[in-house]
């Protein structure tokens, strides 16, 4: 009897967090739905979960949501890949070469401190509202986490480990595969987690401004049309994507670099 009770106790104990979280979300949705039984419902200004769900299903079935997401994904992929390549390369050089970092650190800090989003109108005027304009905004916003983190990663490489590998007769290749990459990669992945959020901001800024398609444009347009249920559905889609991307990277960090979990 008690043998059975103990694991059952530990199940609710172990999953207490998930259960409570799920409960809170359920209460929140139910309250949202129920409040309009008391408060008059005006669908031009608010929406409720069942309508949002219908709109979401509708947008998915009609393929509109997927099309908008696919359109927004293209500049994101370009801008983000460019940010990875440029940011990591620059960060590694700044990490290895002390003089380069002396020379570039102040400029990078100034750029990072200024709200570069403020240059978006200029970028749009210059490069247009198409893929290139959006990709450049995304690149500018998401490159800095890669630069700073790659630099910090290189600085954190343990010189002792390098000497050990060299003393033991390790080749240059061993050095890279066994010491440098494992040391720098976690920093870059951590940078990617920050950069994803900034990249998403870039998409939205680019598309709120002057786009004619894409998920940001869809949100703005549904807002203008007072189609609140559809707007909430799109917002929800972005939330899901953002959570999946950031939590996915966090999960990958834990899976790939378990030795860093404590930090």
């Amino acid at each position: 009897m008690s043998d059975e009770a103990i694991p059952r106790q530990s199940f609710t104990d172990k999953h207490r967090k998930v259960l409570l979280g799920g409960l809170a979300v359920a209460i929140f949705l139910a309250a949202w739905q129920a409040v309009f039984l008391v408060v008059p419902f005006n669908k031009l200004f608010v929406s409720k979960p069942d309508l949002i769900w219908d709109a979401l299903v509708d947008l998915i079935v009609s393929g509109d949501l997927m099309r908008d997401l696919a359109i927004s994904a293209v500049p994101f992929v370009y801008g983000f890949s460019a940010a990875v390549v440029v940011g990591v390369a620059l960060g590694i050089v700044m990490g290895w070469r002390e003089r380069v970092s002396y020379a570039l650190d102040p400029i990078m800090t100034i750029f990072y401190a200024s709200p570069l989003v403020a240059l978006a109108p200029l970028v749009i005027v210059f490069f247009g509202v198409g893929v290139s304009g959006k990709a450049i905004i995304i690149f500018v916003l998401s490159v800095f986490p890669f630069i700073f983190n790659a630099q910090a990663g290189v600085r954190a490489v343990d010189r002792l480990l390098i000497n050990v590998v060299r003393s033991m007769g390790g080749t240059e290749r061993d050095l890279y595969l066994k010491v440098i990459v494992p040391s720098v990669l976690p920093y870059i992945v951590a940078g990617a987690r920050i950069a994803v959020g900034r990249g998403l901001i870039g998409i939205l800024v680019g598309e709120f401004f002057a786009a004619s398609e894409g998920i940001g444009y869809a949100i703005a347009r549904f807002g203008d049309l007072f189609a609140l249920d559809r707007m909430f559905a799109c917002i929800f889609a972005i939330m899901v994507i953002a959570v999946v991307l950031t939590e996915g990277i966090r999960w990958a960090e834990r899976a790939a670099f378990p030795w860093r979990v404590g930090q």
């Binding site: 989003v117 403020a118 749009i124 807002g223």
Partner: protein
């Protein structure tokens, strides 16, 4: 939330302090190289139009540092910048203030209560991962184009760094100290006041620094897309009229605002942590 920049600054400071025997050049090298690279960039930017001939179309988009400096001076001298700057600054200050007032107690609360933490965690994770900009069209619908909308967008942007860092700091509090204070009959309020909050102060300040960046971002985007007045509005209108120098002037003012606020927070931090014993190692 590891703030790598702050960490690096600490490391650099530690390295700086312990090198008495170095030559002057060696000590000044970083400063000289840093200044030189900025100077080279500015000079290149300045002489670029004299080196290559630009088409009339490109010239429209081009501006030089001296032009920007002149415009900036003119904006302040004639006083045209004060009204939009005041509008932006009030939205910034009120939104940031509200996020501190809400974020700090809430952070302490979820740091102290496991149940509350478990219940709010899904919401915090979801909202923190999502760019808050996504709510902008909705907030414009609800709050209009005035100050309220700006305050709300700044608030939701700045809330989460403060909330999450406060939470992390509270979780990190020394359990022994809490138990000691409790044993002497302290209430939960006393525990928060005497142990938890002072201990979490470095985390809170780091969160505040992040929040300032987010708040400036919030002001900028709110004014870009849905405001009637403010520095951001001035910049968008200038971009539409190809007054690139005005756009850059606005950018510089925003950057100065965020740097000044960050510096203030740092001063605040050093005042608040004066009681803290020096870390071991004789720094």
């Amino acid at each position: 939330m590891t703030d790598i920049r702050a960490l690096e600054a600490d490391i650099a400071q530690a390295a700086d302090s312990g090198a008495p025997g170095r030559s002057a050049w060696y000590r000044l090298e970083p400063a000289i190289l840093g200044t030189a690279s900025i100077a080279v960039l500015l000079v290149l930017w300045e002489v670029l139009p004299r080196l290559i001939t630009m088409s009339a179309g490109t010239k429209l988009f081009f501006t030089t540092p001296t032009q920007i400096a002149g415009t900036l001076w003119r904006l302040f001298a004639t006083g045209t910048i004060w009204t939009p700057l005041g509008v932006s600054a009030s939205g910034f200050a009120l939104g940031l203030g509200l996020s501190i007032v809400v974020g700090l107690p809430l952070g302490v609360l979820i740091g102290r209560s496991r149940t509350l933490n478990a219940m709010l965690d899904p919401f915090i994770t979801a909202f923190n991962a999502t760019p808050r900009l996504v709510f902008l069209p909705l907030l414009m619908l609800w709050f209009g184009l005035g100050l309220e909308m700006k305050i709300v967008i700044v608030f939701i942007g700045a809330l989460f760094p403060i909330l999450i860092n406060t939470y992390e700091g509270v979780r990190n509090a020394d359990k022994t100290l809490i138990n000691v204070v409790r044993s002497f009959g302290a209430s939960e309020w006393d525990v928060a006041r005497l142990v938890v909050v002072p201990n979490a102060m470095p985390y809170i300040v780091a969160g505040l620094r992040l929040a300032i960046g987010r708040a400036v971002l919030g002001v900028v985007v709110a004014e870009f897309f849905g405001s009637e007045s403010g520095l951001g509005v001035m910049m968008v209108q200038a971009a539409g009229r190809y007054q690139v120098d005005v756009v850059f002037s606005g950018l510089i003012v925003f950057a100065a605002l965020s740097l000044a606020m960050t510096a203030m927070v740092q001063v605040l931090e050093s005042r608040l942590s004066r009681w803290r014993p020096q870390r071991a190692g004789g720094e």
